[in-house]
Symmetry: C2
Subunit: 230 residues, 2 copies
Amino acid sequence: MLSAKMEDYLKAIYRLEREGEPPVATSTIAETLEVTPPTATSMVEKLEDRDLVEREKYKGVTLTPEGETVALEVIRHHRLLETFLTEELGYDWSEVHEEAEILEHHISEEFERRVAAALDEPAVDPHGDPIPNDELEPIDDHSASALADHGEGARLEVARVRDRDSEELTYLDDAGITPGTKLVVEEVAPIGMVTVRLDGGETVSLPDHIADAIQVRTPEDAVADGVSEV
Amino acid sequence: MLSAKMEDYLKAIYRLEREGEPPVATSTIAETLEVTPPTATSMVEKLEDRDLVEREKYKGVTLTPEGETVALEVIRHHRLLETFLTEELGYDWSEVHEEAEILEHHISEEFERRVAAALDEPAVDPHGDPIPNDELEPIDDHSASALADHGEGARLEVARVRDRDSEELTYLDDAGITPGTKLVVEEVAPIGMVTVRLDGGETVSLPDHIADAIQVRTPEDAVADGVSEV
DNA sequence: AGAGAGAATTAGACGAGTCTAATGCAAAAG
DNA sequence: CTTTTGCATTAGACTCGTCTAATTCTCTCT
């Protein structure tokens, strides 16, 4: 059995591989998991012993296929749990992250299957992120990009919200911005601020660091990608 | 924060206090948790440091009020989870124990509240055990006693099934014996076997060690105790 | 009361996961 | 081509939960 800690490292490495260029540096892992670099070094050595990562000393690590399988399994658990907590237990989508972060390591495969069945095998979690189906990589939705990259006047649909901070998510939720929301870019202010107008006509202004968390796509892309059942 | 391990010790001590005479011996705790006596000793020392148990060296331990509160909280989590897994996720009541045993240490108070609400604040879990409500001790159902203690011909109702072995529970479940089942003691054989007749007329024979796990009461007591909404 | 049996505790070790401080490597700057 | 700088690793220590082996306590039996 793999410890919860090891699963956390694998999950972090998986995410970091997608965000930047593999191999993933030890210090990056350390930062992500809020541990010191020596701790990260000793953990990746253990992961290497178990053939979950490939390591080039002084360079960094990449996941082996086995490591990736574990990472995806954990991510699947996480997203399934987030969906379950929101849909079945009435949690607010902004507060499910913490709970799922812990539970993801402790549910059985049986639990996973039953939850997936109860939710009717969902493809996307409440943040709009795809739920990987076991061995398969989630289809990375390339049509989605950061809100800030679009010019004024662009008509867009929120694909997902890449944020882990519960306060910020609550703010967006209250403002009416969730996956599926349609909006138009009203103004991109040079002072690090973006204003959008929602379907109902309300406008919402957001500082760049929050706007960056909002991934959008044009409604046409949504149909083309077949991911519109959010 | 208390570790899952410490919670396990507290829960075990709580159960052992009810089953026998406090103080609870170190070796008994060790046996229950399948660790060696020195391990149990060192853990109870730590529990003492945190004022969760009172200890008399070479004698044993008793829970302090704080320790008992924690134990009850964990037991509440366990039974709530068992109920949830059976009612909402369609688990068989015989297979929920393992899953609940792990999850009980990892759910938040928020999760606990929401599950309790979703289940409509249940008073009893699928095994027929009362679900303690936070600070309050569960009402110990004194009218319930072991099936084997009743003579032939006694008309009884199953109050709870005190067993943790999944195979045995499945067997009883298949045989139609669950909390709430009405039955009549047909024969108490001197070879360590008890035969009962169920409502439908079927008879079931059980070896003593299994019959002992079945706690029963007379249907009148059930009404008097107000625990009949099983 | 004294001896022995049986249980509990102490002593010392280990793996996991973490830290700080010291050292080593490698890539950029000169 | 050598130096510097910055990240990575090694060294060594600590806590938690566990173990085995050795020791000590308590209680019962004669």
